[in-house]
């Protein structure tokens, strides 16, 4: 319990979105406040239906109006620009999975708890189910597909294989990306550090033993860039 509630300070985005479960004093509230009506629409979808969206106008929020219809956006994913049209309420996860067929990141809890949708945005691990696609414009989005070209395997993914750090594998891409973000910032991970850095990702099959070993092995071998 305690580890799940004490996130590392060096992963602000991950820590914030992944900490939203009970106390979550910044995550959702911060990003809703910060992005105005667009995210109001998404929170309304979750919470109250479209009545709230109707009540919020540019006059009441002072924000730039986008939508509710689809708007053109550009996303830089794994180094490549993609142009697409999405409604402002569409999450980064759904934009990639439903519109671009980039499906490595998985949809599980769909509300910033489990980490299966983890991507690295501008160097930080984020829950892509809790970030809007429009908000990710102008940022570097790295998904698990971007770790290695098709047909090749990234050393971190290989470490997950070597230590059998996966069973059904549905949570695995999220764990690999959370590991990547952690190791990018902490080249000399400790056992305790791994427990905390990956505390925002959940696995149902119970592969944590393998994951602990995989992260430490990958760090030891280096060459993770």
């Amino acid at each position: 319990m305690s580890d799940k509630d004490s996130r590392p300070d060096n992963l602000p985005n991950q820590a914030s979105s992944k900490n939203s479960s009970v106390t979550g004093e910044f995550s959702r509230r911060e990003f809703i406040k910060g992005t105005g009506i667009a995210s109001m629409a998404v929170s309304a979808t979750v919470l109250l239906g479209d009545e709230l969206a109707k009540a919020a106008t540019p006059q009441t929020t002072g924000a730039k109006w986008l939508g509710p219809g689809a708007v053109p956006i550009s996303l830089k994913i794994n180094g490549k620009m993609h142009n697409l049209e999405v409604e402002p309420r569409v999450t980064l996860l759904d934009a990639l999975r439903d519109r671009l067929d980039i499906t490595g990141a998985k949809k599980v809890c769909d509300r910033g708890t489990c980490g299966a949708c983890t991507m690295i945005v501008d160097g930080k691990a984020v829950y892509s189910c809790a970030m809007l696609a429009i908000e990710a414009q102008g940022q570097d989005i790295l998904t698990i597909e971007g770790l290695a070209p098709e047909g090749q395997i990234h050393p971190l993914s290989q470490a997950f294989v070597d230590h059998d750090a996966q069973q059904c594998g549905f949570c695995t891409p999220g764990f690999v990306m959370a590991c990547k973000a952690y190791l990018d910032q902490e080249p000399n991970p400790t056992y305790e550090g791994v427990q905390k850095a990956l505390g925002g990702n959940l696995c149902r099959c119970g592969t944590y033993m393998g994951i602990r070993h995989a992260v430490l092995q990958a760090a030891k071998k280096g060459g993770l860039a």
Binding site: T103, V108, E145, S157, D164, Q167, P173, G206
Partner: protein, 720 residues
């Protein structure tokens, strides 16, 4: 004829070794395509409208407004009752209508516009004692007497009484239930997340038939190369499997329908609760004499699970009664080792309390009674000793109640369990192509257990080839039929059918090759990448050269589950060490030890993973996860993953796994492993907590509030 029996230990080059799962790279690089990831050209998205009521008649369903919403293509009724006058929902979360639209967002918007008119009916959602539930909501399922319980208790020097139990939990598969359905003329293809690739096609065809869409079962293809967890909840296509195909038919385009997380937790599977009031008696020396229990639990709206109490220990005098409490909650489904974790908690905790009353170390108490555990008694003796060594049990154990100062108390607990795990009925086809390539095909599935890897290992071992030389094909109903993966039956079914199919193919290869080596087929063997005269490498062909002798003809070997290569019945022992903060009620797992047998191990690495995973799932159901129902509203209070809690990586402590293998184990043949190690964690952890704090926390999960309540009830709570 090639001897199809498992090769002896010194002849095994792959079987029993630590081998990485062969589909691991696809999964850990995000390239594995699960049903949820299938995006077909022109794909539509469907969402489901679920009951907001725990129990109600439905007097009207109005989809007219929904059908006018942007992007909407079709709707489908999902209620089991055909006639509107019979429409009724029996739990919150029961699917009523599915709506399909161009995008997920549009489908969700439209689903919100469906107007359901309910006429509420009385409901019960709390699995309270049968007496409180009343006659309308409870039903006695069985009553049994063995021996003379009254006399047994009379002879007992010590009796112990207590209440024990396990609350309802859900499966919470990471990949929610559902599928993508696509019609090609009158043929249907379904990418389903399922434990039953060969079985659900027929069920979908039947379901469609009842909805007026005729499709022969052999025109339904099920594809499931990867699936994101099932744990017993994905045997059936379910109402959404039929509705998705119906929507695809109506819309004339492929449709994706995967449940959203709240729906997944409310409706797609739960593990029944089970509680019992127990009285158990023994002689001063620990010999068990009598057991009496009144147990109950809920499977949802219908009666279901029937426990066999006491678990494992065949106490000579028994009086048991079990009642079902009928609740308006999502129906139970098989959950990894159905009823065993609950029976184990009830029994092993009651015995632990009795041992404490006898001032006996529970390790000695269980050994004292080990002769009444049935056929696995000798396994348990060996496993208890091994587990005690790995846990340093005798060094660490203290009598109940950690007397050291400070609020954090440490304790040890143990438990044992059994499971069947005999292989299911499965078929396999092994093809040897003239270019030397090898395929092994079966309509089975890999739930994350390593089925694909097991098939490859057995085939490669049989042919004397490296693992990479074999391509296993699974997860498609076009392959030879295999039974559903449930009850730890897949590894036995698939390893034996694969072995038989590979030996059949090898016999055919030997027949084709023998003349060119100037010998007869019975004198040949396939070893180290060669086909050669037995023991004579001077008379040999490489595998490729040998296969070239086939000309243009591919060989197909066939095999079925082979009873003499498998068996059933395993035992396992687990020990847990915990620390409990008596001020906050938080239980922390320090260490768990699992000692497990499963006959002949095919892949030691994935076998150990099953046990590690079971321990972690066990920690989760013992300490954190619980489906919480609210009687006021009839609703589930935590259908999400922030309040339906799974253990995280920092919550599980140090885990030690030891597999029993070698003589006495390997020669039993292959036995399934998925279920057994998930049975004991509840009892082992509950007993460890009792050992630490000196009182029993009656129910799992042992959440802080329950720990504090148990301390308060005993007067042992710490006051600041």
């Amino acid at each position: 004829m090639t001897d199809y029996h498992w090769p002896p230990a010194d002849k095994r080059s792959l079987i029993g070794k630590r081998i990485s799962r062969i589909d691991g790279p696809w999964k850990s690089s995000g390239r594995a395509k699960y049903s949820y990831d299938v995006n077909r050209p022109g794909l539509l998205q469907a969402k489901v409208v679920f009951s907001s009521q725990a129990h109600a008649k439905i007097t009207a369903i109005d989809t007219s407004e929904a059908e006018k919403m942007p992007g909407v293509k079709a709707v489908a009724n999902m209620l089991p009752q055909q006639k509107p006058e019979d429409w009724e929902v029996q739990w919150e979360g029961q699917p009523i209508v599915a709506v399909v639209a161009e995008t997920e967002e549009q489908a969700r918007d439209a689903a919100r516009k469906v107007r359901i008119t309910y006429q509420p009916l009385p409901y019960l959602v709390e699995d309270t004692e049968p007496a409180k539930a009343g006659a309308k909501f409870s039903k006695v399922l069985s009553s049994k007497t063995v021996g003379d319980p009254a006399a047994g208790f009379q002879q007992a020097d010590i009796t112990s009484q207590g209440t024990y139990g396990a609350h309802v939990i859900t499966h919470c598969c990471m990949e929610s239930h559902g599928q993508v359905s696509e019609w090609n003329g009158d043929a249907l293809t379904v990418w389903a997340t399922t434990q039953n690739v060969s079985g659900i096609g027929g069920e979908i065809a039947r379901g469609l038939g009842s909805r007026g869409i005729a499709v022969p079962a052999n025109q339904v293809e099920i594809i499931s190369p990867f699936m994101g967890g099932g744990f017993g909840s994905k045997f059936s296509p379910d109402a959404w499997g039929v509705a998705c195909a119906e929507l695809a038919k109506k819309a004339g385009r492929p449709v994706k329908l995967l449940l959203e997380r709240d729906q997944e937790l409310m409706t797609a599977g739960s593990r029944p609760s089970m509680y019992a009031n127990v009285k158990v008696g023994a002689k001063k020396d620990g010999t068990l004499l009598a057991w009496e229990s009144h147990s109950w639990g809920t499977d949802g709206p219908a009666a279901g699970s029937l426990p066999s109490l006491p678990y494992i220990f065949q106490v000579p005098n028994i009086q048991v009664q079990h009642a079902a409490v009928l609740t308006n909650t999502g129906p139970a489904r098989a959950w990894r080792a159905p009823t065993h974790p609950q029976m184990c908690v009830i029994t092993l905790c009651a015995l632990d309390d009795l041992a404490a009353k006898l001032h006996m170390d529970p390790y000695d108490f269980l050994l004292k009674n080990i002769s009444i555990t049935g056929p696995r008694a000798s396994n348990y003796i060996e496993e208890l000793a091994k587990a005690a060594e790995l846990m340093e049990w005798k060094k660490k154990w203290h009598p109940r109640g950690d007397s050291s100062p400070g609020p954090v108390k440490r304790g040890l607990g143990l438990s044992l369990h059994t499971w069947g795990g005999r292989g299911n009925q499965s078929n396999c086809e092994v093809k040897i192509h003239p270019d030397g390539s090898v395929e092994a095909s079966a309509g089975t599935q890999d739930l994350g257990t390593g089925t694909r890897t097991v098939i490859a290992i057995v085939t490669a071992e049989t042919f004397g080839l490296p693992l990479e030389a074999v391509t296993p094909n699974i997860g498609d109903s076009k392959y030879p039929p295999a039974q559903a993966s449930g009850g730890s039956t897949t590894v036995g079914g698939m390893s034996s059918s694969t072995r038989r199919a590979a030996c059949d193919a090898l016999d055919q290869l030997f027949a084709a090759v023998a003349p060119s080596l100037g010998t007869t087929p019975d004198k040949l063997e396939a070893v180290g990448g060669q086909v050669r005269v037995i023991g004579d490498s001077s008379k040999s062909l490489t595998w490729k050269q040998a296969c070239a002798k086939l000309g243009a003809t591919t060989i197909t070997g066939k095999g079925r589950t082979s009873g003499d290569l498998i068996s059933g019945g395993v035992g396992g022992v687990q020990m847990a060490e915990v620390s409990v903060d008596t001020e906050t009620g938080i239980v922390r797992v320090e260490k768990m030890v699992a000692v497990q047998d499963c006959g002949l191990i095919i892949d030691r690495k994935t076998a150990e993973s099953q046990v590690y995973g079971a321990l972690i799932m066990g920690v989760t159901y013992s300490l954190y996860e619980e489906k919480i129902m609210d009687q006021q509203t009839g609703r589930c209070l935590n259908p999400n993953m922030e309040f339906y809690k799974l253990a995280g990586i920092g919550d599980v402590g140090e885990l030690v796994v030891h597999m029993m293998s070698g003589p006495g184990y390997d020669d039993r043949g292959v036995i399934g492993l998925g279920e057994p190690p998930v049975i004991s964690p509840g009892a082992a952890l509950s007993n460890a907590v009792a050992n630490a704090i000196g009182v029993r926390v009656p129910h799992i999960p042992m959440t802080p509030d329950r720990v504090l309540a148990a301390l308060a009830a005993s007067g042992k709570e710490v006051t600041a």
